[in-house]
């Protein structure tokens, strides 16, 4: 039996080809080393290595093919995902309005640099910081009022009172921000409803910050209540506007 035949027979039961090649190379090197060290002829060296059929049985038992196939599949999955990701980035890069998404960290940067207070400080005549109100949870969102400011601003029809509320919202699902257009289900004041509202929001990951500016608050209003959600998810944020609350 030639060395090639011996190696072919000994490795024939290894079903995963890359393993078969690697084991064959190893056996070949081992044979080479043995012949160099002991000076044996090829036949003698092969006899020393043992019965190739018995070696094949043992190697076939040790080298299970499924782990190799799984490895190949994982490589294919990784390569496929990498190609798809590159294609997707290319498509987004040329799509108007979406190109910013391809830059890693852009979402976080936007979140950090977004100022949810839209009011120009120059038009503020007077500002009073109020206790922000109690945090509450509903529908998987934890809504924490961070700042509440009652401020008199110069408007087109003369000075008016605005109420600014800054909310810090923790989300239970990734990038699923509160849709404040619809989630804010009602606004009441002790003396009528404020006439207008501006809103600004920024979200990244599990965090959202939101600024609400209620314009034209009635001067005699002693409190404001904001309803969030509908049905059993409805929660009310009560804000006391009196001087005592400020103190």
């Amino acid at each position: 039996m030639s060395e090639k035949d011996w190696l072919d027979t000994a490795t024939k039961k290894i079903r995963f080809r890359p393993d078969r090649k690697a084991v064959r190379r190893e056996l070949e090197a081992h044979l080479e080393d043995m012949r160099e060290a002991s000076g044996l002829e090829e036949d003698a060296a092969l006899r020393t290595m043992g019965d190739p059929e018995a070696v094949a049985e043992e190697l076939g038992r040790v080298h299970k093919p499924w782990l190799g196939y799984l490895w190949r599949a994982s490589q294919a999955a990784l390569a496929g995902a990498a190609v798809l990701y590159c294609v997707m980035l290319g498509m987004l890069a040329v799509r108007p309005g979406y190109s910013y998404r391809v830059l890693p960290g852009m979402g976080l940067y936007n979140y950090l640099q977004t100022d949810v207070d839209m009011l120009d400080p120059a038009c503020v005549i007077e500002a009073r910081e109020l206790p922000p109100g109690a945090a509450f949870e509903t529908g998987g969102y934890t809504i924490r009022p961070e700042r509440t400011v009652l401020r008199q601003v110069s408007g087109t029809d003369g000075p008016q009172w605005n109420l600014y509320i800054e909310l810090d919202i923790t989300l239970s699902r990734w990038e699923e921000p509160l849709d404040y257009w619809f989630a804010l289900s009602g606004v009441r004041t002790g003396a009528g409803t404020p006439c207008g509202m501006h809103r600004m929001s920024a979200c990244w990951g599990f965090w959202q910050k939101c600024g609400l500016e209620f314009e034209g608050l009635p001067e005699d209003a002693e409190w404001v209540e904001l309803d969030f959600g509908y049905g059993q998810l409805r929660r009310t944020l009560h804000i006391d506007l009196t001087e005592e609350a400020e103190a």
């Binding site: 994982s74 990784l78 619809f182 289900s185 959600g229 409805r234």
Partner: protein, 200 residues
Amino acid sequence: MKEKRTPWPRWAKILRNLLLAVLLGFMMWDVWGHPTFFYMEDLRRRERRALFPEPEAVVELNTIGGVKYRIDVAEGMAVTSYPLRGDFFTNANASFHSLEEGPALLCVSRTAERPDEFGQPLTCAAYVAVHPPEDAAGAVLTLSNESAEHMVEGIREGDVFLFYDHEYATTGSALHMMGFSSYELEFSDKDGNSICQVSG
């Protein structure tokens, strides 16, 4: 001499590759704007984001093209939606309707489809009256403009009344409604006595 690096065991390589593939998958989903892949998933997400609770009533209508039109009703809010094919995934084309206390009329924005007496599909404009009075057994919708008045009998389906208008049925009811300047919705009890009227 440079020491030879011990190769990673195969299971570790598999785990590494799979983790990297999952990470890339997440990054793809992230840059693509977090699609939900399915209509119902998208609808549920929109409802969750609006703090819309589990609906008290759900109505499904057949509309042209075999598209199901869905109306979810809860206290203070109703959501109308239908599946809409997006770039790669099916989204929910959803509209939110604020509801006051008492009955309210919603327009179905797609042309509805109902089988006629021979089982053939018949197109019609459809309206839905939500939050009807509890003891309402019948409902009549009267659509009117300067020159004409048109009445449609309502069909009770669970907690809502459906109105199918075959006569003016060339388009969805949101457009259909534009031909009328006002509507009146009248509910009656099982003896035919009027118990509630809503107009708009």
